[in-house]
């Protein structure tokens, strides 16, 4: 079975909390499917709603999904997916 590494930043109890999981995926799985299938204790349930996804920055191998195929981006074996809160300002 192909596997992906999932990194989650600040989506649990702690704003700076980092979790790392390895997830098995089916053939041609998408970022969306991986997100829906995540089982992480303490993760904010609100962020599962499509509207709240606007607040998420999602990266596949460090690349924002906005430059790929968005939530429909297909994943391959050994890809790394990162979900974190969007931020602005410098």
């Amino acid at each position: 079975m192909p596997q992906v590494r999932v990194l989650l930043f600040g989506l649990g109890d702690k704003a700076a909390g980092k979790r790392q999981l390895v997830q098995e995926i089916g053939p041609s799985a998408t970022v969306e499917e991986v997100w829906r299938g995540l089982q992480v204790p303490g993760m904010e349930s609100g962020t599962r709603d499509p509207a709240d996804r606007q607040a998420l920055l999602v990266l596949v191998n460090g690349e924002p999904i906005e430059y790929l195929d968005g939530w429909n981006t297909r994943l391959s074996d050994n890809d790394q997916i990162t979900y974190l809160h969007k931020t602005v300002g410098g």
Binding site: L7, F9, G10, K14, A15, A16, G17, K18, Q54, A55, L57, L59, N61, G62, E63, P64, E66, Y67, T82, L84, H85, K86, T87, V88, G89, G90
Partner: protein, 637 residues
Amino acid sequence: MIRKLSSQRVLNVDLSDGRVWSEELPLEDLVLYLGGRGLAAKILYERTRRGVDALGPQNLLIVSSGTLTGTNAPSSGRTSITTKSPVTRLYLKVSVGGHIGAELRYAGWDHLVIAGAASTPKYLWIHDGKVEIRDASGLSGKGTREGDSLLKEELADDEIQTAVIGPAGERRVMFSSILCSRYNSASRGGIAAVMGSKNLKAIAIRGRGSIAVEEGKPYYELASQMRHALAGDSGSDSLFNWGTAGSIPGLNEMGMLAARNFTATSIEGSEKLSGQYLVDEGYLIGRESCFACSTACHRYVRTLSDRWGRVQESGPELETVLALGSECGITDTDSVLVANEICNDLGMDTISAGHVISWAMECYERGLLDQTKTDGLELRFGNAEAQHELLRRIADRKGAFADLLAEGTRHASQEIGGESWKWAIQAKGLEQSAVDTRMAKSYALAFAVNPRGPDHLMTETFAEFGLSKEARDVIRKITGDEKYANPRLLEKRAEIVDWHEKVYAASEALGFCVFTSTAAFAVNPANMAQLMALGLGVPMDEDKLMLAGSRIVNIERCFNVREGATIKDDTLPWRMMNEKVPSGPNEGMITDRPVLDNLLGQYYALHGWDLKTGAPLLSTLSALGLVQVCGDVAVDG
């Protein structure tokens, strides 16, 4: 005293002979240049001469309130400070938050133009229509925190707003800063060295007057709508929750976190520099706001260990944790809070201070410096103790090495020699802020043409990343298609920079924080123009506002042309153009000379500037009505 919002009253102070006088600027100028940063640029151009000594009495230091500052327009309390920079020897504008702009207006003036130089240390006491030039010998050598407290004690008023320089400004450190309203740093380009050269230690302001808008009800209704829209913008939440340093995790994961003097793109332990970590671990004890802002992105923090000394003061911004943290190879949270406080108290720009030291650390690691040359400091990446000690020495210019670094990386690299100039991350003499311009092309172009040097605080083109719906909408508005919301593309970068330049200029002229218009996007040219029209009772719309933004950009450009700047100065640090991104998702990317030249060509053509010299064409200035102001430097065409 109640004054109209449309008033543009200038307080002139000549510190050489103690003269003080007021003047009222014409309303037509306010409409053409929007006030604030815009009118300050015009005043600087018209009232200084070519080649004016930045540290001489003929240079001006101009403090300008935003035109809508003093009202409840959201986040509209920003103040511009304008002068000629001693380090770039070019135009310098610094925008600062806090409350001094509103206080100046309530005290009876909208701009403060300081000329001359006092023979002994002075401070200005501006209060309710009165001005005094007072003895500041008791403040000399004091840090900015103590300076602020002593002024409040001497004037027996805790409500006064202050702008204070520290020892670094007094000693003319080329990256010294002015601390305003105690917590807000007016930094970049050695602005405080100009104040120090005038022997002006501080400005204290107290105003009990008020400002009246023309059409009160619709003005306040629109301001309130804008405030609500801002609260709903996807960017505002993160600014409140985690401050600007909330971007650390994302930058690290995207391989865009500047580390070890731009030789790495991420760093182990980066989370300890993040705004989220400050919240989780209890470093954060409060959030601070500038005047009329409910976003409250500023932090109030404390250290949790005694290792580097105790601090309980204003917290670090994103650029600060990058410059004093990752760029110096340091990820110890307490250390960065202490380094930030050293800089703020002694009055130094954290971006340049951090980058001067990260450059010196790279020289040390490469063997170009050793302890015999650093006055005994072991300047390895990660050595926080050496960094703190060096910061203190630089502010005091204590020892030959610190004295050299106090001149900035351009000068220091010329003295140290070898290949050290290649590792000096500067252009025009200003240390680049910690944005990797190798992968983000609008940023690269904006940094290269920035009149004060390469940083994100004249034109930030964050929208080009297209990471929110609002950002993609902005890119669609500018280019006609949101597909251009991708920082790696070369197409449409000139248009994106041009739009942001004008919006930045207009926002700052009116007093709006650019986080509201170019990071969050709820404040936009249309509603800014509408608010200005209602508040001042003048005709204003989006097109007129953008045209005024263009006037500001052109006057600033003309100032630099008059000082001898050419297209050669529109450049980036050597490393940014010659060493590819070494690792991470953007590995191998570069904005090299041919790419930059291509972008510059598009940019000059769009602006109506001469392709050979970069100077504005006469026809361009004529179309903007600027021939009388700065046509003397225009190129025929």
